[in-house]
Amino acid sequence: MTQKHSKIETLNRREFLKSSGGIALFIGASGIFPALVSCTDTKKIQEQFEKHAITAWVKISEDGQIIIYNPASEMGQGSMTSLPLIFAEEMDADWSNVQVEFSPQESDIYGSPGWAPGSKLMFTVGSRTTNSYFNTMRTAGAQARAILLHAAAQHWKVPVGELSAENSVVSHTGSGKTITYGELIPYLVAGETMPDLSEVPLKAPDKFKLIGHEIPRTEIPSKVDGTAQFAIDIRLPDMLYGVLERGNLHGAKPTLLNESEILGLEGVVKIVPYDYAIGIIATKLELALKAKSQLKIDWSTSNASGFNSEEIYSEYKKIANQNQSGEVIINEGDVSQAFQNASKVYQADFKNDYVYHAQLEPLNAVIQVSEDLRKADVWVGSQQGTDTKLGVPRVLGIPPENVNVHLQYLGGGFGRRSLSDFVEECAVLAKEVAPKPVKLIWTREDDLRYGTFRPMSLQRIKASVDVSGTIHAFSHTVVGDGGNLVASGIRNDHYAIPNQFADWRSTSHGIRLKHWRSVGHGPNKFAIESMLDQIAFDQKISPVTLRKKLMINSPRALATLEKAVEISSWEEPSPEGYAKGISFVEHGSLGTGVVEISLNKETGEIKVHRVWIALDAGTIIQPDNVKAQMEGGIIMGISSALKEKISVVDGQVQQRNFNDYSLLRMQDAPDSIETVLIPSGETPQGVGETATPMVAGAIANAFLQLTGKHLLHMPFTPDRVLEALNS
């Protein structure tokens, strides 16, 4: 694998061909029409473009170099390797000669199947990348291979059935002749003579040489020598700098009190007012920041005014007490009837505070608008969106095709970069000073105080057992703002409980909210898995036995449970002062996690020492990378379960930076995280969000084993732990 760390060139498909040598294999957007175009034959290219909605997934040059285009964001999850790897597998490409570049941001061409039938999306969210692109990349790769074999067959005048390919070399079985993909270029023929490749055969999984093997990630060398380029690293000639003051009361409107003073400051080019902020454009970043610090702003009240996040839980309880259901998410059997006939009924309320994404690269973008205001170039680290042009066409009032998005590496996403507010802000600034480019930077304080948080919520769970001690009814009410943001993960599809009910009851506080890694799964799985252990504890049965019984109809879930039990030596007692806890999560992939904790009873500090995960994610593309996602997901889970908390007083966000918003640091990281991947030939499932929601439930369950007490409110800060101990 060769490395490409230089500035990623993102060209639209026309420019792409004008400037490049070699040959591009074009595969129809529908995946049906394959075509070949010599990159020097511009007339032919033009004809092909006019005739078909076609695109290039791969480019080959005569020296054997192969460029494969990645349509997904790279935020550390490994798409820069996993998707091209799937393509190269079916193409039989020599991976050591493959370079990877981002594809153009054109969803009608490079999108994967979206949520609505027939729709296409370039949207790196919801752990959907590998799952949604698996067939697309395999088919496109196989089509590229078929085109090359077809060309070799014509060149040698032999039936294509007598040819095979391996490592970018085509062989003829009868004669023993070979030719490399690069050497085939002069013999490649135009699309009209191509056979129908709409149903190319795909490899049998036992023939995989790349998928499932330990292939290092393509972009890692650039991430250890400082050359990996993030949007914040872009520097352009004549570039200006933009910053915004947004305050800490979401939705408040600003009135600037010292405009002339600010305009008189060194380097200040312009003041740009927004509904919710005051923007400053200056010649240098330090001058922009200095001017920002001197702004005198009178802020209006907003919908958030008067809201106190600590006090609101009593209101949430009242909402949970109401007999009227909210939006019903699941209603199977009859929970009311079951509760009446129950041998015992359990009820508990679980709570979670707001948490902040804290991606380490603060939000930023660079945008250059043309002098006539009709075109724009955008450099950004984005998880893309339903609008692949990230709102810029709407801000500028220009057609989407006039906006060229140059995707850069993301210094973390976690859901925050699936919202394009920061890109739109930058477009507003860039329009003001066109054609000079503007780099907009959010300071850490901006990023945190004007963050979009995972909502706080209250979960009321009522569950009952029948005379045999079997859980036969489970009712789960979640109270909070944001619909699916608080409700995702509330279903128990892998637990055989005949009577189930879940509903969401809406609240609203005017606080900005967004998907945060695992979304509602974090709080919901914490509540569900804690309740299961409360019942097991009271019924004096093992949490494992209880879950095994519930997983009777879900053998894949059960297999993860049994494997986690095995690798964690669950049956063996932990050392004195330590205890294990278990938790199951489904988020595309299925996983069971076990944590081992200890507790400082004086300070209330919980320490997680060891973690074990058994995961069924279907077909695994990159085993080590999946393990890395488990490790990262667990660490983020521990961080959010033990430390992270945004509090709001009178609508104002109280934290500012990493001095008062604590993240897990190295000294608090566990000693080991062991992951076992369960072999499977099923469709690949997402792995980025399965580990994080395991953690809080597993810690609370270990705490219950250790102390007999319940942890009911995330994060489990020392004061809350001490309160639980003394309860």
Binding site: M75, G76, Q77, G78, P216, R217, E219, I220, P221, S222, K223, V224, D225, G226, T227, A228, F230, I232, D233, R235, Y241, E266, K284, L285, E286, L287, K290, A358, Q359, L360, E361, P362, Y409, L410, G411, G412, F414, I441, T443, R444, D624, A628, E631, G632, G633, I634, I635, M636, S639, N657, F658, N659, L663, L664, R665, M666, Q667, A669, S672, I673
Partner: protein, 153 residues
């Protein structure tokens, strides 16, 4: 505006900036040494870790005028000629980075440790690295990489 002469990665750089300008902005925005990252601006995250006379420091809280008197500044770009410092090789070997944004700072912090303590214990590593945040949660692989680099030295 004032003129400052800086010694960075054994090269002399002249910049015209206001007194009090953060060394981080000088490196990144004025000189294009963008391997050093901005994360928090208050020396809490370590993404901007550089070496000043072989000591790891957080560039975001340093003022340019205090480091233009011959102090030897080293950034990730100057750690090795070809990205082949033992730590960089170990980092690739264990596939340490995820998003990678914090890793320049992580590697610079680790390089200072190995210079003074060629075979640190796991606890010494954790203590030394505690000021460097990784939101992707790559801590275990960072420890592994430092141990591997220490062994290979």
């Amino acid at each position: 505006m004032a003129s400052y002469t800086l010694n960075i990665n054994d090269q002399t750089h002249k910049v015209e900036v206001d007194k009090g300008t953060s060394l981080l902005w000088v490196l990144r925005e004025h000189l294009g040494l963008t391997g050093t990252k901005y994360g928090c601006g208050i020396a809490q995250c370590g993404a901007c870790t550089i070496h000043v006379d072989n000591t790891p420091m957080k560039a975001c809280v340093l003022s340019v005028e205090d480091f233009s008197n011959g102090e030897k500044i080293k950034t990730i770009e100057g750690l090795s000629e070809k990205g082949d410092h033992p730590l960089q090789k170990a980092w690739v070997e264990v596939q340490a980075p995820q998003c990678g944004y914090c890793h320049s700072g992580q590697i610079m912090q680790a390089a200072a440790l190995l210079k003074n303590n060629p075979s640190p214990s796991k606890e010494e590593i954790k203590t030394h690295m505690n000021g460097n945040i990784c939101r992707c949660g790559t801590y275990l692989r960072i420890v592994q990489a430092i141990q591997l680099a220490a062994q290979s030295q």
